[in-house]
Symmetry: C2
Subunit: 289 residues, 2 copies
């Protein structure tokens, strides 16, 4: 006699991981949350977080289910890096089977309930994908050192670069200049470079609200930056839309700022996400099983 | 009876350090070279390199001079960082007295024989300074993470950013795109991001000749990048020139590329450096003693 099978869908990011347990009929039996699950940063920790959230979801279901009855589908930060996926799969796990995809892909599947559609995320980082004919087509997501245009990290980094140029008289001093100086409590370029030494994406991203605030105050420099970011997002959204035919979800902390600045054609595609990444990856798993 | 005093001028950078020994009458008695002397990267190693080059210069002078008779003046990479200078001064040294300045300042003093003048350097990094009325006025030199516009590292980083955007269809594919792909022997954006992960200034700088080569082939993207770099250099050069009154030296590996692209007014200020940074710092020391 084969024991009944279940599916757990996981949405795992740099700070937390959410798990949703369903039976094969689509009934949600339990949900739970735990710590970070970025497999690029730490594959072992990611697996521990996933197991912990899965055990809690099973416990909340109130049924005698063991994880070896469970198909795990996980949309994880870092799963766009092949070496990270390989490392994750090399770890022993308690599940019946495991399928991993990038958190961008699971978010896109969730947003359109597994139907064809596109998703652009713009938070600390930025990236986009489209799902059509069973395949994903990606844009961006290269990290702040060489990309992530329009993202919070990008706004922060560009604001710092601009501030240093303004200290040198290469650019005019604007509202943004004085706001950045006030944010870091500094008066010289040397103080600024000392403070931002070793900054990574999230550190730069903390400055994004400073840029948005200057934009709200009609600062020409902040407006130029945000307009440039919106133009980038419009371009990748359009290129993912299959000639403006696919619905598009825009998610992440900065989308409220950018949405009204996208081209009219792109705005006409915008739809709110229909369901969560966890649900998206579960629906995808069901069709694969 | 006081023993005779001497001066050693040192020019110390990330890869090597040059020392020049003079008596107080301006006679060059000996010269020598040793390893790296960037006090930001490694103050102890910098001091070892300086002592080693100084001992060799004294040996070549063929006179019984000990380092406690020697005033050391050193223009050193990293000496624009106050904490690095403090760390360097905290180390015990064998000299009669030590004066440290940034290698940018010593290069400027050398270029104009200690007279008022400006200097812009554009190699792996970029920076500028002007010396007038006994004071230095600096521009740039903030490092590739947040600045160093026009530099070799900047050209390389911008070329990589552009190549990723071209992979995504955000920018057109040009000569530069195919040259960058050929340089790294790759076919996908993921292969490129994997190869450049953790790159620092010097790593990006290796790509500068690829950009220059595409520029020579009239690639519109490479031309736009180098034109933007030249515009930055013209702006800081003009701002250092005291209303186009000070002579200006342009030094570093990329200056042959940029010189013909500077504004006519800036080009009219250009002079070849008159002497070396070592000589520059020695002349400066003499006036201070």
């Amino acid at each position: 006699m084969t024991k009944e099978a279940y599916i757990i869908g996981v949405d795992g990011g740099g700070t937390r991981c959410r798990a949703q347990l369903e039976d094969m009929h689509g009934n949600i039996l339990g949900q739970a949350e735990s710590g970070s699950a970025n497999i690029m940063t730490n594959a072992e920790q990611a697996l521990r977080s996933i197991i912990s959230a899965s055990e809690e979801a099973v416990y909340r279901a109130g049924r005698p289910i063991s994880l070896d009855q469970v198909y795990l589908g996980a949309g994880l930060a870092g799963a766009n890096i092949p070496s990270a996926v390989k490392q994750f799969h090399s770890l022993p796990n308690p599940f019946k089977a495991v399928h991993v995809m990038s958190d961008l892909h699971s978010a896109c599947l969730g947003a359109h309930n597994g139907s064809p559609g596109a998703l652009v995320i713009c938070g600390t980082g930025s990236a986009g994908t489209a799902y059509q004919n069973g395949e994903f087509f990606d844009r961006g997501g290269y990290g702040i050192a060489v990309g992530d245009n329009a993202s919070g990290a990008w706004l922060g980094l560009e604001a710092i670069k601009y501030t240093l140029l303004a200290f040198d008289g290469v650019k005019e001093k604007s509202v943004l200049f004085f706001s950045v100086c006030a944010h870091f409590n500094l008066k010289t370029a040397a103080e600024l470079t000392a403070q931002v030494k070793g900054f990574k994406g999230g550190d730069y991203g903390v400055l994004a609200p400073v840029v948005v605030d200057a934009f709200d105050k009609d600062c020409s420099i902040a407006t130029a930056l945000i307009t440039k970011g919106a133009s980038y997002l419009s371009t990748i959204a359009a290129s993912l839309s299959d000639n403006y035919r696919l619905p598009l979800s825009l998610v992440g902390g900065l989308n409220g700022i950018y949405s009204p600045l996208l081209t009219e054609q792109v705005q006409s595609l915008l739809v709110a996400p229909k369901s969560s990444p966890q649900t998206g990856v579960i629906e995808y798993m069901k069709r694969k099983l």
